[in-house]
Symmetry: C2
Subunit: 131 residues, 2 copies
DNA sequence: CTCACTGCAAAACGTTTGCATTGAT
DNA sequence: ATCAATGCAAACGTTTTGCAGTGAG
């Protein structure tokens, strides 16, 4: 892939996601970018997000059956999806090594990556549940 | 939800998935069931699979951007998705408790579930890569 | 001046749904 | 006889793509 040109659309997408606090999806980003570049198309949003992910500026948060959301927080971290409101909470935790025990138990495999995702309740929804 | 009737279609779907060794998706199951019930519809496949999951006969393996696959192996286990051929390998491993450390680090959250998924190479693809 | 990027629209993809009909109980 | 389950087809939401036109370098 050739060098990327810094267009108005691309700038806007980057800014919007960096400013976003909600781990937004393409549709939300589209609405926001339209406030600045009214004629932007969803296709461009997708293509730009794909490029920004490839370049390492964004991390995609994928979940089956749901739209991909994007995280501008490049710090290594995990996510908890709130089962109450759908919010995604960033988690900074040190987990034990999960690769080695599996690799040792299954030497005939090549174990390369693990993905860990949490579900539960965000502070607001947890507080709302009790008193 | 009312009691389930045991129709030809439902029997066929259950049999096909139980016999399958590939963690098949709805489309694959559809093709197989059609060999026995030629007029079955994809909608019925989906509705039946949904019911079988609800009743606990099947476990869905979901991955963003890919079709849901189904596992008749009800034993608690993890999966490794082969990055070479897409095969899913069952893993029987005891992982350390991943819930407690996060719950303790984030008492304001309610941490309910963790999902762990591995990526790597199945034995065949690993062997093919080397000599 | 080039060709990467764009807008637009159509289509792809897995999945769900509405509805009239069928068939298990 | 009942009404859960079916076949069919249309629709869904997300994402991708083809193509002619635009604009950043």
């Amino acid at each position: 892939m050739a060098l990327k040109r810094l267009t108005r659309q691309r700038k806007a997408v980057l800014e919007v996601v960096k400013r976003a606090h909600n781990h937004p999806d393409a549709a939300w980003i589209y609405q926001e970018v339209r406030k600045v570049v009214p004629k932007v198309s969803l296709g461009t949003i997708y293509r730009t997000l794909e490029a920004l992910v490839e370049e390492g500026y964004l991390i995609p948060i994928t979940k089956a059956g749901e739209a991909t959301r994007y995280d501008a927080n490049l710090h290594p971290h995990l996510h908890l999806v709130c089962q109450g409101c759908g919010a995604i909470v960033d988690l900074e935790v040190d987990l034990p090594d999960l690769l080695t025990p599996v690799q040792e138990a299954y030497p005939q495999l090549e174990v390369r990556e693990v993905e860990v995702a949490y579900k539960g309740l965000c502070p607001t929804c947890k507080a709302a549940l009790k008193g």
